[in-house]
């Protein structure tokens, strides 16, 4: 489990500890859903920060 409070402190984010505690379950749930997907990623795949029409159109 990620220690979100320690992470916020280390990065000197001005997020009150109680606020970090309140959002920790949501972040933990997201971690559990997202982390396993990384196994799908070959090195050759680049980010799609702006949408590529060729990818969307399957070209």
């Amino acid at each position: 489990m990620t220690n979100w409070k320690a992470l916020a402190q280390a990065r000197e984010l001005d997020i009150p500890p109680a606020a970090v505690e309140a959002i920790s379950p949501a972040l933990e749930g997201l971690e559990q859903a997202f982390r396993p997907l990384l196994a799908k990623l070959p090195f050759t795949i680049e980010p799609a920060t702006t949408l590529s029409e060729s990818a969307v159109l399957g070209e």
Binding site: A19, I23, T49
Partner: protein, 443 residues
């Protein structure tokens, strides 16, 4: 009355744009205290634009089907000289010095701006329980949310205040108010409608589109606002085509979209599939790329981009609503590597979705697994499982923004006291085909 009918009456001189605008103003003033659909009502401007529309028609100048038609803009679209709040305290007094591309195009088309519609703060969420401008209420039951973030736009159309309203959709923000309020909502293909001059929530997930009474009307608005714009780096040069394809192969997902659906929604969806088959469609069972996985990617991208965008204001914690602040805090805690990998995964799933179209022309799903929750409700229980209202409401729509596909929500016939929507997902740039199918199903 819908846009097409009003346009016909304007041209036969049965009604004037000024009369339509005065009717619209009467409806807005009558319903605003109950529903709170608007942040700013542009009465003076509307009457001036309506007079101009009538004068032009009298002189034989016809700007097309939106000429003289009253509408609303979600308060994220910049309007020169008219405050654009983004539903926030931080931008409460913000008056842009330029117009958004969509407002430019609608003005060029002769449409009449009635005002700036309310929304979730910074368009970040789906309840429209706005801490700065008050809760927006569902016209079918004012104790319920309208959906969001384009909630004011959905209410303004569903309560007959305007003929159409513009919304923005980052993870369902056009389609959710469309399904909860009982109107049509179109999220076009990425790049189809310029984002220039719209306050962004997420650079790579935002889409602009109309909410209307009919699918045909949505097509009329789309034709006016679509097209390449060099001021938007993601704007597409793909031609705007209003001719639908003939294909009627409908994909019916056997995964995800049939899980944890409210009984009244499931029943209306099954009926709609039957009607589609009766209308000549071929129903094809399919498995779509896992929307749960794409939803996780969407959340990572949105949390990171929204927090990056609003970083300059995050020291003003007291000026944000609690729900939006909680999301912005989450985004600040995610590592950059997650954001980059989410965008890489996005490309993987775009390729997987592209293969879906080898087998079908459309994919039909419920727009949301639930009907409109109550204002202040934080969880819903479906099949005995409690779920966060925001995550439940967006469960069936969010993934489509990641892929960039066009999708429409159209109201379904139902005995439920609250509206239920059908989501029609189509091939890239196949908006005309989606709208044609929706029109067939509406008959």
């Amino acid at each position: 009355m819908n846009i097409a009918e009003a346009a016909a009456e304007l041209r036969s001189r049965e009604v004037s744009s000024v009369e339509l605008t005065q009717d619209s103003l009467r409806r807005i003033h009558a319903e605003q205290p109950r529903l709170n659909a608007f942040i700013t009502i542009t009465e003076e401007l509307a009457l001036a634009q309506a007079h101009r529309a009538d004068e032009e028609l009298a002189r034989g100048i016809d700007r097309g089907p939106l000429h003289g038609i009253p509408y609303a803009l979600k308060d994220v679209f910049a309007t020169k000289g008219i405050r654009t709040t983004v539903g926030s305290k931080i931008f409460t007094d913000h008056i842009p010095d330029h117009d958004s591309a969509v407002y430019e195009k609608l003005t060029e088309a002769g449409a009449v701006l009635m005002g700036k519609a309310g929304l979730q703060e910074f368009a970040y969420g789906i309840t429209c329980n706005n801490p700065h401008f008050g809760a927006i209420r569902n016209p079918h039951n004012s104790a319920c949310i309208p959906g969001g973030s384009s909630g004011g736009s959905g209410v303004a159309v569903a309560a007959d205040m305007v003929f159409f309203a513009m919304g923005s959709d980052t993870g369902g923000s056009i389609r959710i108010p469309a399904t909860f309020c009982g109107c049509v909502g179109l999220k076009p293909t990425s790049g189809r409608v310029s984002r220039y001059g719209v306050m962004p929530l997420d650079f790579s997930l935002d889409h602009m589109g109309p909410l209307t009474r009919t699918a045909h009307d949505a097509g009329l608005v789309l034709n006016a606002i679509a097209g390449f714009d060099p001021r938007d780096d993601t704007s597409s040069r793909h031609p705007v085509d209003s001719n639908p394809n003939k294909g009627l192969r409908i994909g019916v997902p056997q995964n995800f979209y049939n899980e944890r659906v409210a009984p009244e929604v499931a029943a209306a969806y099954v009926r709609a599939l039957g009607e589609a088959e009766s209308a000549g469609a071929t129903l094809i069972p399919i498995h779509v790329p896992d929307p749960a996985e794409i939803n996780a990617i969407s959340r990572v991208i949105l949390l990171c981009e929204a927090s990056a965008l609003l970083e300059p204001y995050l020291h003003r914690r007291a000026d944000f609503g609690a729900d939006v602040l909680a999301l912005l805090d989450q985004g600040r805690l995610l590592p950059a590597t997650d954001y980059i990998n989410a965008q890489r995964l996005r490309r993987v799933y775009q390729r997987e979705w592209a293969r879906v179209w080898d087998h079908v022309d459309f994919v039909l799903t419920p727009t949301s697994p639930i009907t409109a929750p109550k204002i202040g409700q934080t969880t819903v229980e479906i099949e005995g499982v409690p779920e966060d209202v925001r995550l439940a409401s967006t469960r069936f729509v969010r993934a489509i923004n990641v892929i960039g596909l066009p999708a429409l929500s159209v109201p379904l016939a139902t005995d439920s006291p609250l509206p239920i929507g059908l989501q029609i997902i189509g091939k890239p740039f196949a908006e005309a085909s989606i709208l044609a199918l929706a029109t067939v199903l509406a008959k």
